[in-house]
């Protein structure tokens, strides 16, 4: 029997997981329905701040009842056996706008379990409430990761991402950093990759903001680390020259060409 064909985003996700696993990253997963705490506030997004405009969010109706039913939103002590009070028991829910939520949850747990230094990588579906066109989708996949330890630096971030993009897009890839801003990183960086002669914006990154480390129960005077995140769909579109992001979610097997 012929084997079935694979979705290009799955192929890419597997390759990305392999690339990061080779560098010691642990694969992490987490809920798509997320609390506003993990999606925003744990990540140092201030309430009522223009930074929240950066991500058009799907807020969930009647989310208090929904949150009550789900183990993902139980206080952390119910999830891990440790005491933690930053997550209130009936949060507002959103469809996660990034998988940095998973990074935060994983680092928080690793800290509690005494498993630092640690590095996590997660690839998952995220959602943005915006009109769709050839480069915008309401759902897409994000690749998000972080490494935390005593001395993890921007130089390490550059080394790790260089190795990653060379694996994904070819040995000739160069990467560079440019200034940016995200509430959850300081310094904040935009990562560019040179592919076929053009510098392309690939992902956001930076050093985890001390407030984020504190929010997940870590001590910023003892540990530091980098985080990064960007669209997997975008890498796929660049790698294979796919012109319309909407093709990924039509259930059309003609997409499975690789």
């Amino acid at each position: 029997m012929n084997k079935g064909t694979e979705h290009p985003l799955s192929i890419l996700a597997n390759q990305a997981y392999d690339a990061f696993s080779d560098m010691g990253f642990e694969i992490a997963t987490g809920p798509e329905l997320e609390s506003d705490w993990y999606n925003f506030y744990v990540l140092n997004f201030p309430k009522d701040h223009p930074a929240l405009d950066m991500q058009d969010t799907f807020w969930i109706k009647n989310s208090k009842d929904l949150a009550k039913n789900s183990p993902d939103f139980a206080p952390l002590d119910k999830r891990t056996g440790d005491q933690h009070d930053s997550l209130n028991s009936s949060p507002n829910l959103v469809l996660r706008t990034h998988t940095t939520t998973v990074t935060a949850r994983s680092l928080e747990k690793a800290g509690k379990d005494g498993r630092l230094p640690a590095a996590f990588i997660s690839i998952g579906k995220v959602f943005r409430n915006e009109a769709t066109d050839i480069t915008h989708e309401m759902q897409f996949f994000q690749i998000d990761g972080a490494m935390v330890g005593e001395n993890i630096s921007i130089a390490d971030l550059k080394g790790v991402l260089t190795k990653f993009y060379k694996k994904m897009l070819g040995e000739e890839i160069e990467i560079e950093f440019r200034p940016s801003f995200f509430p959850f990183t300081e310094p904040s960086i935009e990562v560019f990759a040179k592919f076929k002669g053009h510098w392309l914006e690939m992902m956001g990154a930076g050093m985890l903001h001390p407030n984020v480390l504190r929010n997940i129960g870590l001590d910023p005077s003892k540990v530091q680390g980098f985080a990064f995140g960007g669209g997997l769909d975008r890498i796929a579109m660049i790698k294979w020259n796919i012109s319309d992001v909407r093709l990924f979610y039509q259930g059309d097997l003609r997409l499975n060409q690789f």
């Binding site: 694979e6 809920p31 969930i60 530091q224 690789f258």
Partner: protein, 605 residues
């Protein structure tokens, strides 16, 4: 933020060419979204000022100061040129009745002459897309784009009594300068007089005290409002203005006196006969001077780049920070406008972006991490590999649909619910793919999806798989657990179902978009002598299919009988720019048939 190159040059005459500036901005400050050459020779750079620098960079002077420090070039201070005649005592009364106004500076100017605006002001405003209205309004406007402080001018003779900054009464109303009627809630902050509502604080002026062509006397406002209060009010009223943009990003109240001076001097330049009264300055809570400490070692440790004490000193001097240094530890006095600098990490960013991120060299940390196996991931991979091995192809469909149990509050699309199952989407997928079965090279379309569904009880990871006869769906955990499976379930997370897919080798080449026009599939079956290989027949067909064949010829059937062998091939024809007709395909098939017949003993069935 649109920056006029010529305007910028007033303050930094040695500024590099606009082309060079693009790289300087991109690598050291922020993204240049566009660059536009104007007919008058000016060049406009549209800068995407980052939110943490919106306190000090949403102005030409702000950007010029940054460039002067970054590039170590001269900054021409305009203040010596600001001339204001000696002011007279004033009767202006200002009262702040809300915690959301941090400072209010007002000044009465009498005997102004409203009229046309000097050319240079018109030109500067036009270069960044702003329309000239009259000299007084233009002066207030240009000061904002020049130094970053929003300002406003009221017609003094339309104001009754003093100026009050207060929270609105529920239902209080105002017509804005652009004739939009707004109604306030009591959390909104407004500017009022003893009788009327004059303006939405920090957002938009009102019609009542508008400066018009008959205006003789004015009140200038240079104030500072709480960023969150401005944002909430503007959001509720759905008003976007340049003033709002600046206030909601938070400005230093220390900017107000500077702007008052610049604005006053500009009005004096335009109306030399005007008389100026004293400034009334209500400033309930002064912005405190802040100190910030950081160490060279810590900055180097964050960056993974050895930065020297001298390099840091050089940067601090260029950026005009007062500082003290001892054994590599710095203490600086933060510039009043730099509200973004609060922690050591901010200085690490400041130093590295000024030096350039290219100075940081990549490194792979040599840490022996001990990653654990992710069980969810392992289960998904196991299920996926099993289904792929069984001939199911992988699809992804939309999480949004028309009905369900979990609903989003607001959506850019008409699908406001999240799916409760994968089957509905997968059935559509099968229908679509069934139509394309010849294109896909298979009669039997088998599809699967592994994904999240959303129910009242929360989200669940499901597996669905099927074909045109039907779709089965279950929770991922049920799918991988016995006795449903013939293969053994994973004992622990890491085991994978053989053979494993998605590894090395997959993923080369370029994507080929399919044609949106209909395709036509045709078969041809040929009897040939037993010693003839299928490849020989294939070659003849291939040479004659023309350029419209998008799939095939592929051998799909073969059998022997009476010393002869029958090969059946399938081809799919399709055009990228039009609908192919039957007649065209018939013609191709006729050509193939006749070419086959040219061979001895070959026969088309």
């Amino acid at each position: 933020m649109k920056i006029s190159y010529n305007w910028l040059k007033w303050y930094v005459p040695d500024v590099p060419t606009a082309d060079k500036l693009v790289d300087i901005f991109n690598y050291h400050l922020c993204e240049v979204e566009s660059i536009e050459k104007r007919e008058d020779g000016d060049i406009i750079l549209d800068l995407k000022i980052l939110p943490n620098r919106a306190h000090d960079l949403l102005s030409h002077q702000g950007v010029a100061r940054e460039l002067a420090s970054l590039l170590n070039i001269a900054y021409v201070d305009p203040t010596p040129k600001y001339k204001i005649p000696e002011s007279k005592t004033t009767k202006l009364e200002v009262k702040i009745d809300t915690g959301n106004c941090r400072r209010y500076m007002g000044r009465i100017i009498k005997n102004v002459k409203v009229g046309p605006t000097p050319d240079w002001v018109v030109q500067h405003l036009a270069s960044i897309g702003q329309r000239s209205i009259n000299n007084i309004v233009d002066a207030a406007n240009i000061v904002m784009f020049d130094c970053g402080q929003p300002t406003h001018a009221f017609d003094l003779d339309k104001v009754q009594g003093g100026v009050v900054v207060r929270e609105a009464k529920d239902g209080e109303a105002l017509n804005t300068l652009d004739n939009k009627a707004v109604t306030f809630k009591n959390s909104n902050v407004i500017i009022a007089d003893s009788k009327n509502t004059l303006a939405i604080a920090g957002i938009k002026g009102g019609k009542i005290a508008e400066v018009d062509n008959n205006t003789k006397n004015i009140i200038l406002e240079c104030a500072n409002f709480d960023s969150i209060s401005v944002r909430k009010t503007a959001q509720a009223l759905n008003i976007f203005t340049d003033a709002r943009k600046r206030f909601e990003n938070d400005l230093s109240p220390e900017l107000a006196p500077y702007a008052m001076r610049e604005l006053s001097s500009l009005i004096f330049e335009m109306c030399p006969e005007a008389t100026f009264e004293d400034i009334v300055d209500i400033y309930p809570k002064k912005q405190e001077s802040r100190k910030l400490s950081f160490s060279t070692d810590r900055v180097s440790k964050i960056l993974g780049l050895k930065v020297s004490v001298d390099e840091i000193k050089d940067i601090l001097k260029r950026y005009l920070f007062e500082y003290a240094e001892k054994a590599g530890k710095f203490e600086i006095v933060v510039l009043t406008m730099r509200l973004d600098l609060t922690i050591e990490e901010d200085m690490a960013e400041e130093i590295v972006r000024i030096l350039g991120y290219d100075k940081v060299k990549g490194d792979i940390p040599k840490i022996n991490f001990k990653p654990q196996v992710n069980k969810t991931r392992a289960k998904i991979m196991w299920a996926r590999n099993k289904l792929l091995a069984e001939g199911y192809s992988e699809a992804m469909t939309y999480a949004f649909c028309n009905k369900g149990e979990v609903e989003v509050q607001n959506s850019a699309s008409d699908k406001k619910f999240l799916r409760t199952n994968l089957s509905d989407g997968l059935k559509e997928s099968i229908k679509l793919n069934q139509l394309n079965a010849p294109f896909l090279g298979s009669d039997k379309v088998q599809v699967f999806e592994i994904g999240t569904v959303f129910k009242k009880s929360g989200e669940e990871m499901h597996v669905a798989f099927g074909d045109k006869k039907g779709v089965k769906e279950m929770k991922l955990d049920e799918f991988i657990s016995p006795p449903r499976l013939s293969g053994s379930p994973p004992q622990k997370g890491g085991e994978e179902f053989p053979p494993q897919f998605g590894k090395e080798g997959a993923g080369g080449g370029n994507f080929k978009m399919w044609s949106l026009f209909p395709f036509i599939a045709r078969d041809v079956a040929v009897w040939v002598p037993e010693n003839i290989k299928s490849a020989e027949v294939l070659k003849v067909i291939k040479e004659n299919t023309g350029d419209m064949v998008i799939r095939g010829p592929e051998l799909f059937d073969e059998f022997k009988k009476d010393g002869k062998v029958s090969y059946a091939f399938r081809m799919v024809f399709q055009s990228y720019d039009r609908t192919l007709t039957d007649a065209e395909t018939n013609e191709i098939m006729a050509k193939i048939t006749s070419k086959i017949k040219e061979n001895n003993g070959w026969q088309v069935r």
